[in-house]
């Protein structure tokens, strides 16, 4: 009887205690927004991460993959809190994710000072590309300025001479404006930075009226997440669709398009955006990702999802290179610096600040074969483009 009891207790211990009797695991903390209206972005990223883990059969370098998702609540202070918890109490090996630049900036020290790797799957604030660059920080997205720089170049090529600019008033919004100003050769006749965060301004009537009266020939905006959908509707309602052509970055994407289609906002069809990726980009990894995502979730992945999928494969390349020896941090870092993994954007290389040197494309909003609205690549704007802040990075 007593023997039976002891045997039972031992069996129970093995089941309950982590690390006893089961293989060691790679722990990845993934910080994104899972509440508030921005949760729609976070859910897309979480789905992509889960798909990547599935596509890797749940293993990296012989170790089990364990992903812990954490919600930043769209707030820098909450983001830092959950990051601290991932680093200190969950003792993860990698912290990845981060939609928002201000959340990433608030959280980065907690990760980097604790000697963990930090992988941004979206935010690309100029500070982390320049003065705050760090050997343990990697990006699987872009530096904020790059995409609007591509758009500035497109606007100049298309002969636009007067531009009106709108963006939210936070770290990335300012970077987006700086980016388009750097490459746009004409005159910027007006600029609005609107309130952002949990109580963001969503009624743009005053700004749109100013833009209309400014004599601009084109309107450049950056409104990620739910603000993008709200902006597009008001742009159409203000009667600007045929007067002030719209050029966007990170505003019209796989997250806002299904809703715009549901509301039949035809003004968005044909509008132009720039980006490092589109669902139709031709390479084997992207085909596998987009098909897998469509099959599993029944919708197109967004660029947020693409970057998140890449972040797991980047981590995989590091863990594989050291054969699962998570103590060999130099080995993992060297492996990641090579960017030697199948990326959904095709092959690319890392700059000294660990931001990708990659192509940027011009995309147009179209209806696909099944009538679903999506973005399609029209031309290459920049080849192997590197951000400008790398000059300030001392690594």
């Amino acid at each position: 009887m007593i023997k039976k009891f002891i045997r039972g207790a031992l069996a129970l211990m093995i089941l309950v205690l982590p690390g006893v009797g089961s293989a060691e695991s790679v722990k990845i903390g993934f910080v994104t927004t899972l509440t508030t209206g921005a949760a729609v972005i976070g859910n897309d990223m979480r789905d992509a991460v889960n798909l990547a883990v599935e596509d890797l059969n749940g293993k990296m370098g012989g170790l089990d993959i364990e992903v812990i998702f954490a919600d930043d609540g769209f707030k820098p202070e909450t983001g830092k809190q959950v990051t601290d918890k991932l680093v200190k109490s969950d003792d993860v090996d990698f912290v990845a994710g981060y939609i928002w630049s201000h959340v990433l900036l608030a959280s980065q020290k907690s990760v980097l000072n604790a000697d963990k790797f930090l992988i941004s799957a979206n935010a690309g604030p100029s500070q982390l590309a320049g003065k705050l660059c760090h050997r343990d920080f990697f990006s699987t997205s872009w530096q904020n300025d790059q995409t609007p720089m591509a758009m500035g170049a497109v606007l100049s090529q298309r002969g636009v001479s007067k531009l009106y600019v709108m963006a939210p008033n936070y770290a990335a919004g300012k970077n987006m404006v700086a980016g388009v100003e750097r490459t746009f050769k004409g005159e910027i006749v007006g600029k609005d930075l609107t309130k952002w965060g949990k109580d963001a301004q969503l009624d743009f009537s005053a700004e749109l009226a100013k833009a209309k009266a400014s004599g601009a020939e084109a309107l450049f905006v950056f409104y990620p997440g739910k603000a993008g959908g709200a902006f597009m509707k008001q742009y159409e309602q203000a009667g600007l669709a045929d007067k002030l052509p719209l050029y966007t970055v990170f505003t019209v994407d796989a997250i806002s398009l299904p809703k715009l289609q549901q509301a039949n906002m035809k003004a968005v069809l044909g509008s132009l955006t720039t980006g490092f990726w589109g669902p139709g980009l031709k390479n084997p990894q992207n085909a596998r990702f987009v098909e897998g995502f469509l099959k599993k979730f029944g919708r197109y992945p967004s660029f947020y999802a693409a970057q998140s999928y890449d972040s797991i494969f980047l981590i995989n390349s590091a863990v594989e290179a050291v054969g699962g020896d998570l103590q060999d941090r130099d080995g993992m870092r060297a492996a990641m610096e090579k960017a030697d993994f199948p990326s959904v954007r095709g092959s690319f290389s890392y700059g000294a600040n660990h931001f990708p040197i990659q192509n940027f494309y011009l995309l147009e909003v179209v209806a696909d074969g099944n009538g679903n609205w999506t973005t399609e690549i029209r031309s290459t704007v920049f080849e192997n483009h590197q951000d400008t802040y790398v000059a300030d990075c001392r690594l």
Binding site: T35, T36, G37, A39, V40, N43, N169, K191, D192, L193, T194, K195, K198, D199, A200, L202, D203, S205, A206, E207, A209, K210, A213, K226, G229, A230, K233, Q234, E236, Q237, A238, G239, I255, K259, L260, Q262, A263, N264, M265
Partner: protein, 307 residues
Amino acid sequence: MDSALVMIQVLNGLQLGVLLFLLAAGLTLVFGIMDFINLAHGAFYMLGAFICATLALWLDSFLLAVLLAVPITFVIGVVVELGIARQLYQADHLEQILATFGLILIADTLVQMIWGPEGLTFALPEILNGQVRLFYDVEFPVYRILIISAGLLVALALYLVVSHTRIGMLIRAGASNRRMVEALGVDIRMLFTLVFAAGAAMAGLAGLMIAPITEASIGMGNEILIVAFVVIVIGGIGSVQGAFLGAMLVGLIDTLGRSFLDDFLRLFLSHQAAETSAPAISAMLIYILMAVILTFRPQGLFGVRSS
């Protein structure tokens, strides 16, 4: 500064003003008459938007959706008053704040469970989607004019009810001295339910009117509720006229600040400094206004209760 643009921005300010008024009217009456701080008032704004969006997508008619969504929010208001709010009238303000804050969390989570986190959007009928030429070169979206007119109509109706009917007389009496009204034998509980539900319906109307412009999204009510509180503090708690004036002031100052502050600052600041400080200052303007008014008139512009 071009006068057509000023004109348009004044209209935009009025539109924000009437939305704030619809929200603040219920808030100020509930606060003034029942001495009940309802942080969850914004939930009715959100529910109005979601219910209307669902009905509009389902019935394929915006008008029908509005006609149904307003009574539905009224009924929800009655249920919440009878089931929850009534138990809290005797509690002190801190307990009311804690309880209604809990209600916010429940409402937000319920909406997330029913409609998902991504929010709902729907198209306006063609006739409302266009522009109307007011005169020479002033064009304004038809739908925003409709919002302004609807808001002003509700304000007028509310004014007539409050100042020219028996119920309105009881409401006013309740706001200035609740005990006395009770002592005179009026069924104050009925009155409370009615006022609470009417406030909910007006908040719902505001929410469903803004939904086609922004969208129905989780937490939309909490964002605007803070401004609605500023409105009732400026206008004076318990006063519908105060709420109207306060809402118009806040709507106009916020919109005009956002539109013209950077041009104004450029008169005496460098281009760069004006550009970076204008968004920050314009976000603060309404709070500065509130502070100034509180300094000179602590009871608000139309304060009825001398505390």
